[in-house]
Amino acid sequence: MEEVMVVGGGPAGLCAAIESARYGVKVILIDENDMPGGQLFKQIHRFFGSAQHRAGIRGYDIGNSLLSESEKLGVRVLLNTVVWGIFQDNFLGIKTEKETKILQAKKIVVGTGALENPLAFPGWTLPGVMGAGAAQTMMNIQRVLPGKRILMIGSGNVGLIVSYQLLQAGAKVVALVEALPKISGYLVHAAKISRAGVQILTSHTIVKADGKGEVKKAVIAKIDENFKMIKGTEKEIKVDLVCIAVGLRPLDELCWMAGCQFTYIPSLGGFIPLHSRDMETTVSGIYVAGDVSGIEEASTAIEEGKLAGIAIAESLGYISKKEAEEKKELSWESLRELRLGSFGEGRQKTKDLILKQYNSLHKM
């Protein structure tokens, strides 16, 4: 039996692996891609936070430093490997390029991340309509410009940041539409793209994307306070790419399969596996960290991964309870900081709620 298997090599999974390996736990990290790092390597902007959160450092630099740390600590990494199931008694089904295998681990960390929400409108299935994250992958990882003239939908941080990155890659962002009457992401991100000439149109929506075989244009229009389109305000714009940035949802299939109990919290992305302060789910020995435990940011994913890693090292007897508590306290403190302010307090509240529900189950 393996000691720990971590599913997903993004910030959460990497940090869980690093943190438990730091205390001597033998860790296997599994990732479907040919390189770990998850979505970190397409984050080319600088992170917010404090020095402890690696603020001011770009996502891919954080990715690189996590990779070299995990390498130094002897984390075994299985790449191009799919986990196709988690079963009773911590069995995992994996598929490499060559074979299918069934493994068992004392502890499993699910750090599978998230998936972008789609948005349906006439023409949304045309080639040339894609998720904002997809555009980000295309330009920052694949180094292919996803479009030359772009309409961005959604003014959350993803919509704003990806708009900025599209500009950096050499595209023109013709407009950014937001159905709400105000910008929902950070104003500093909005200001960045605004002074670079992007029109941010609040109380606006996309009416349709159009073109023969692929996107050639889009129609946008104003909407009223009930989100109804105001007739006569339709405007056709020439674009070759429409990007959708309307939120994410956890990639939680493995947790469902493992039998974890869930709660429904729309603001965190939908169904969220209940988990303890140590990030353990209702299935003993299965942990979650990062977006799969509620949509937040890479910096929170890092801390949650750490927590899971420390808790695992503790429960496998590699560190004392006292030492573990001290280490965990640092991460909890760090998470509390990241969940401060008008953007964070809502997340703190819902995370507290998850904990409360988890605890009430475990008191029974």
Binding site: G85, T100, G259
Partner: protein, 400 residues
């Protein structure tokens, strides 16, 4: 919808049989409530390939063959017009069905079985050799020797058929309550008077137990056996001309396979042996079961080795000692009726619903339900082996 206090008929179980009986009774003017402990089609009805096989099994028992054909033929006739009747498309496809011989021994047996079946009255059955079989279903590998082929068999979408019946029942004012678990059937002075549920008590004139594998948990006098099966589902592939089949691999693994209208292939069969009776109700799979079912795919199909498995499930079938369901009033208890113990409800349930409703409203079904009389098992505890599978079951049935 408020939870009712009383009704005319309570049907326990929102599976295909429960909804089919509920529809037919409601249509005949009875006041029906269907109670389901989980959701519609959560049991075997939603965990099968929708295989409409008029005659499965390979025994040469003339009586059993005729008994079965009697109902399944009528069922096939009914299926033809059912979508229209229910105003609901349940993707019925009379694509034909095959029972594949995977060894020379089986093939030799088929050469005798098929003429026998023809002789006793199954006129449609055809023996096809390897080449003909490959013409029918080109993706099959060289493991096949030939098959028994019946062109009027087919597939349907079991969820949709189940839901089609439920919706049609609702049109006739039947009420359906899901997430409603029956704690017990209340019997007073030899009469069933109501059911205790997690949502409250309901009084009724007639209680029908249509809980299939779960039926004996409420009426222990009638022994019905749960049998756990597993299945895997592939991604969509183009439509295969003939697709609904059974095969026995390595003489033990019996399994069926169908293609849904959406294109997904489904392969199902026995999972690993359950140790105890209650283990047969377990609906989670072990990774080995998924591997095993997937391996069967690779044995049977050439060129489909790269197809992706996208889903899997385990479900609980029901078996009785003679392979036939239990349908009829429970002896010595007034107002309690059972319609359970179906091992292949897809080929049966629609017509059975009709016959049961005729029985209960007119006192005489258009085809007799006598062969299914529950009396034949009443209070006969069968000492099944703790761990049993198809092979054991077949041996048991043979000894009988």
């Amino acid at each position: 919808m408020n939870f009712p206090k009383s009704t005319d008929v309570i049907i326990i179980g929102g599976g295909l049989v429960g909804c089919s009986v509920g529809y037919q009774l409601a249509k005949r003017g009875r006041d029906v409530i269907i109670l389901e402990m989980r959701n519609l089609a959560s049991g075997a009805s939603g965990r099968n390939g929708g295989m409409v096989t008029q005659l499965d099994g390979r025994d040469k028992n003339k009586e059993a063959i005729l008994n079965r054909l009697n109902y399944t033929r009528e069922n096939n006739k009914m299926l033809a017009g059912l979508a229209e009747e229910l105003s609901y498309d349940f993707e019925y496809n009379r694509c034909g069905g095959i029972d594949i011989a995977c060894s020379e021994e089986e093939w030799e047996y088929f050469k005798k079985l098929v003429p026998f079946q023809k002789e006793v009255g199954d006129e449609e059955v055809i023996l096809v050799d390897k080449q003909q079989l490959k013409d029918l279903c080109s993706l099959l590998s060289d493991i096949v020797w030939g098959a028994r082929y019946r062109p009027t068999d087919g597939t349907l979408n079991p969820f949709k058929l189940n839901i089609g019946f439920a919706l049609a029942a609702k049109k006739y004012k039947a009420k359906v309550f899901t997430e409603t678990k029956i704690e017990k059937i209340v019997i007073k002075h030899g009469t069933a008077i109501g059911v205790e549920t997690n949502n409250g008590y309901i009084q009724a004139n007639l209680i029908i137990n249509a809980a299939n594998a779960w039926a004996p948990l409420l009426i222990p006098e009638i022994d019905i056996l749960p049998l756990r099966q597993v299945a895997v589902v592939t991604e969509r592939i183009p439509e295969l001309p003939v697709y609904s089949f059974e095969a026995i691999i390595d003489r033990q693994v019996i399994f069926g396979s169908t293609q849904q209208k959406s294109g997904n292939l489904l392969v199902g069969g026995l999972g690993t042996q359950a140790r105890k009776r209650e283990d047969h109700y377990k609906e989670d799979l072990s990774p080995y079961e998924i591997e095993g079912s997937t391996a069967i795919f690779n044995i049977l199909f050439k060129g489909l080795g790269d197809v992706n498995i996208i889903r899997s499930w385990a479900g609980t079938m029901a078996f009785t000692a003679d392979g036939l369901p239990c349908i009829g009033p429970i002896p010595q208890i007034q107002g309690l009726y059972i319609v359970a113990g179906f091992s292949n409800g897809m080929a049966f349930a629609p017509i059975i619903g009709k016959l049961v409703a005729e029985d209960l409203t007119q006192g005489k079904p258009s085809i007799t339900l006598k062969p299914f009389n529950p009396e034949r098992f009443y209070n006969k505890k069968i000492s099944w082996p703790d761990s049993y599978n198809y092979t054991v079951l077949a041996e048991f049935l043979e000894r009988k």
